[in-house]
């Protein structure tokens, strides 16, 4: 029993320690944003990797999510004779909840894992040490541009997801199932308030930082060769998904 409690305590302390280390890692990365050289070109390169290259997957998932919401929403609302509220239902679901969460999970799966693998390989092949020995801070050259790119790209991708999702819901609800186009959009305009949009933006910002932080941290501290890179990549996707959902609950309760 004592051994079990000892092991449990040890595990808990390790988790707290890692959370603290991650927080310090984030603070260092963000602080370096304000220290020259500012590296705008590196930020643009990372925006392409994290943002532009995730666009197609966001377009696809956004469209299908909106179509499913349109379909499910239509048949649920029809039971109460409220098909005209379909636009509001689709828009609120996407803007408040599904847009930020699904975008973050998709970006984590696509770009987060790629970032961890890239930095992990740089670690095991001594490229990060090489930067250090050339008096170039690897945190500033490698991590900081990715953090900034994550903060910029994820909210923009979320906005794309929301818009495409609303159009997907329109395609199913209005074009295929016959809901009035005017009712679809006017209901949306009346029911979506600035707090909904602000909440979605704040969520996507927090998720963006979380994804890139986890991805960079796991890659930066990769050990034990190729197997270590594989393990770190896996941990990035799992931990990001858990943290995104946990943050989602916290932020939703804050914005309700």
């Amino acid at each position: 029993m004592a051994t079990f409690i000892h092991a449990l305590g040890g595990r808990f302390l390790a988790v707290v320690q890692e959370a603290g280390a991650m927080m310090l890692f984030l603070l260092e990365g963000l602080a370096l944003t304000f220290v020259p050289p500012y590296r705008p070109r590196r930020v643009l390169q990372e925006l392409e990797l994290i943002g532009v290259k995730s666009t197609l997957i966001i377009l696809l998932t956004g469209a299908f999510t909106g179509m499913v919401l349109g379909l499910q929403g239509y048949y649920t609302l029809r039971k109460y004779g409220s098909e005209s509220a379909l636009g509001s239902a689709v828009a609120l679901s996407l803007i408040r909840e599904m847009g930020p969460v699904l975008t973050a999970i998709m970006v984590s799966a696509r770009a987060g894992s790629a970032v961890t693998a890239e930095i992990g390989i740089m670690r095991i092949t001594e490229q990060l040490d090489a930067l250090d020995t050339m008096a170039v801070n690897p945190m500033q050259y490698v991590v900081m541009p990715k953090l900034i790119a994550g903060v910029i790209a994820v909210p923009l991708l979320t906005a794309i997801f929301d818009v495409v999702g609303i159009l997907g819901g329109y395609l199913i609800g209005v074009v295929l199932l016959g809901v009035s186009s005017g009712a679809y959009f006017s209901g949306m305009v009346q029911s979506v308030v600035p707090l909904d949009i602000n909440g979605g933006i704040v969520k996507s910002l927090v998720f963006g930082i979380t994804i890139v932080l986890v991805a960079c941290y796991k890659g930066y501290y990769t050990e034990h060769g190729a197997e270590g890179v594989s393990r770190a990549t896996n941990q990035t996707v799992v931990l990001s998904a858990i943290l995104i959902l946990a943050w989602d609950y916290v932020l939703t309760s804050f914005f309700m």
Partner: protein, 247 residues
């Protein structure tokens, strides 16, 4: 120039360096030999502050760098260049980008001047200009080492650290790389520390040799002295005998 005093370093309770004492004289190439996994690269990484020792000192021009802050280490590293075992070339940059990297990061030279210096180094390393556009993944092991050497040399550092510079190369390429190291050393007169287990080839380029065994320097001297050293462990290593260091 560099003096290592009672350096101790352990990983997970295992003492890898157990009180290392070594001097690296200015303008000479000092080679640390020893079997794989004995801690040679660990020792090398202490010299640029990539690792912090558990105890002991690393003096560079009399200053103990183990107590340096991050900023002081950055300043110190401007005097160093490191040739890593695998080359540590940046995958995302082509050969030109890799060699130009230190100049672009740490100098205000014009692109034309950077270009001139990069192609001069490529030529010095017997690499053709078309190699400049290739990426590290497209290079052979020998080419990677020579590109890494060109990158190390481009800033004309005072001190170069070589981590197993010829590991994995065939004999002709081993000779080529040692020849290039020897030639650049004669031209520039830099101070160097090299870790290697390539016996006897490494004796060609060394001014001083030290042998690391079980965390300690057990022999030190000119190459000829080491080759005649009475310690059976040293002799056994030089002759490449099997299991002489079985733990």
């Amino acid at each position: 120039m560099i003096k290592i005093i009672d350096l101790v370093k352990s990983f997970n309770g295992q003492r890898v360096l157990d009180g290392i004492n070594l001097e690296v004289p200015r303008g000479q190439i000092t080679v640390v030999i020893g079997k794989s996994g004995v801690g040679k690269s660990v020792l090398l990484k202490h010299l640029v502050g990539l690792l912090k020792p558990d105890s002991g000192q690393v003096l560079v021009d009399g200053q103990d760098i183990t107590r340096f802050s991050g900023r002081q280490l950055q300043e110190l590293r401007k005097r160093f260049a490191v040739l890593f075992q695998g080359g540590a070339l940046f995958d995302s940059l082509n050969v030109f980008g890799n060699i130009a990297f230190p100049l672009r990061e740490k100098t205000r030279l014009s692109e034309a001047e950077i270009r001139r210096r990069v192609f001069e180094r490529l030529d010095q390393m017997h690499l053709t200009p078309d190699v400049a556009l290739k990426y590290p993944a497209e290079l052979s092991g020998g080419m990677k080492k020579r590109v890494a050497l060109a990158r190390a040399m481009i800033q004309e550092p005072e001190i170069i650290l070589y981590d197993e510079p010829v590991t994995g190369l065939d004999p002709p390429m081993t000779n080529t790389v040692f020849h290039l190291i020897s030639k650049t050393h004669q031209e520039s007169g830099y101070t160097a520390m090299m870790v290697s287990h390539d016996i006897p080839d490494v004796f060609q380029v060394s001014d001083q040799v030290a042998m690391l065994h079980r965390g300690k320097i057990i022999a030190q001297g000119a190459p000829a002295e080491i080759q005649r050293h009475p310690d059976p462990v040293v002799q056994s290593f030089i002759r490449g005998e099997v299991d002489f260091l079985e733990d």
